[in-house]
């Protein structure tokens, strides 16, 4: 197993970040959606507290992931991709990173504006980022939910693009993010 990326494969660290964040995002989205649909009450408090702890975890993971990526750049895209395709790939990856940061931060801002300090699993209390304001809290919640919908669309595009690489272009772009023997399987053209 190789930790660092190689010219044609993602290393174990980059893969670990990718799949861990992918799984946690699905869980996080489910918890958030479930939480807002619950009425005010004990269960909502518990569910939203977990959503916040997990959101802060994802924020930390995104920071570590970006730091790792800066130190260990990803393998290049296949040389025969068109300009527009490359542009779309870079733009959607950039947007995914942007959402990985802006979603937790807008959630944290919303919690501060609504007068509820964020605790990370009951161990660390995070500082309040803004003063309490109901109109600001309402606006931040709208932004947070809007960004989460944008995340769903961007992830859908990301998955579609991975399948397009694998099925249509038949290149290694999907395979190089897969661990172990799936990833090392040679492409038969």
């Amino acid at each position: 197993m190789q930790w660092r990326n190689s010219p044609d494969r993602y290393g174990a660290m980059a893969q670990g970040f990718h799949w861990l964040i992918a799984v946690l995002l699905v869980v996080q989205y489910g918890i958030g959606l479930y939480g807002v649909r619950l009425g005010t009450g004990f269960e909502q408090l518990v569910v939203l507290a977990r959503h916040k702890s997990l959101g802060i975890t994802l924020f930390g993971l995104a920071l570590l992931r970006l730091a790792w990526r800066g130190w260990n750049p990803p393998p290049p895209l296949p040389g025969d991709m068109r300009r527009a395709e490359r542009g779309l790939a870079h733009a959607s990856h950039g947007l995914l990173y942007l959402l990985l940061f802006t979603l937790p931060v807008t959630g944290w801002l919303f919690s501060s504006a609504s007068g509820i300090s964020v605790s990370w699993f009951g161990w660390i209390t995070l500082p309040d980022l803004v003063g309490v304001s109901e109109p600001l809290a309402d606006a931040l919640l709208r932004v947070h939910i809007g960004l989460s919908l944008l995340l769903v669309l961007t992830v859908a595009l990301h998955v579609a693009a991975a399948l397009w690489h694998h099925r249509v272009r038949r290149d290694t772009v999907l395979l190089r993010m897969l661990p172990g023997r799936w990833g090392r399987r040679e492409r038969q053209s």
Partner: protein, 203 residues
């Protein structure tokens, strides 16, 4: 003769000066029978509480409460009554406020007020004292010791009292049903007050 003219006004003057001292107790009458009494100055007094919600501190305050205190700091003797309008609680989150006022917590429609009464005080040295009184909250009365500092300023025209106390909400059956557990809403609630007091007539 000359001396008599000087002495007579001196005696008169002495008598005039002595009059308030002699008449004073009789005129002031009931006020001197007990320690001086105080009430809160509504503008500057704060009464706050802090609990824990999902691991993070949650601060709130009571907007309406009354204080009646008669206290002799030298003897550490007196009477204290604080009454809090629980509907006036404010944690800066309307949903949380509604939950705290609701039937599973303070149930303010049935128990609109909390009352603390103390007539047993202890000097802790300096300007520090401890009240040993009874808190009645949510229909439950429990003893509660409240340490505080007390200072009279401005020749008796103002006083200041500050203190903190901690209570366990379970002692008062606050937090019913699923809220009874303490993992998501902490058991301990800290109270803190900073009271600006002005003279009041005895109750």
């Amino acid at each position: 003769m000359m001396r008599d003219w000087l002495v007579a006004p001196a005696i008169l003057l002495a008598m005039v000066m002595a009059t308030p001292a002699l008449a004073g107790p009789a005129l002031a009458g009931p006020a001197l029978a007990g320690p001086p009494c105080w009430t809160r100055d509504a503008a500057d007094s704060q009464f706050e509480f802090t609990g824990k919600q999902a691991g993070a501190p949650a601060h709130g305050r009571f907007r309406r409460f009354t204080v009646q205190a008669c206290f002799d700091p030298d003897q550490a003797q007196g009477e204290l009554e604080v009454e809090v309008d629980l509907d006036s609680l404010d944690t800066r989150n309307a949903t949380r406020d509604a939950t705290l006022r609701g039937p599973e917590f303070l149930d303010v429609s049935h128990y609109p007020r909390a009352r603390y009464q103390a007539s047993d005080f202890e000097s802790l040295g300096g300007q520090h004292y401890r009240a040993r009184g009874t808190l009645t909250l949510h229909g439950v009365s429990q003893p509660l010791a409240v340490p505080f500092s007390f200072r009279v300023d401005n020749d008796g025209r103002q006083a200041e009292a500050r203190g903190t106390a901690a209570l366990d909400r379970r002692d008062f059956d606050v937090g019913q049903g699923r809220w009874a557990g303490t993992r998501w809403v902490g058991a301990e609630v800290e109270l803190s007050f900073s009271l600006k007091l002005v003279p009041a007539s005895p109750p």
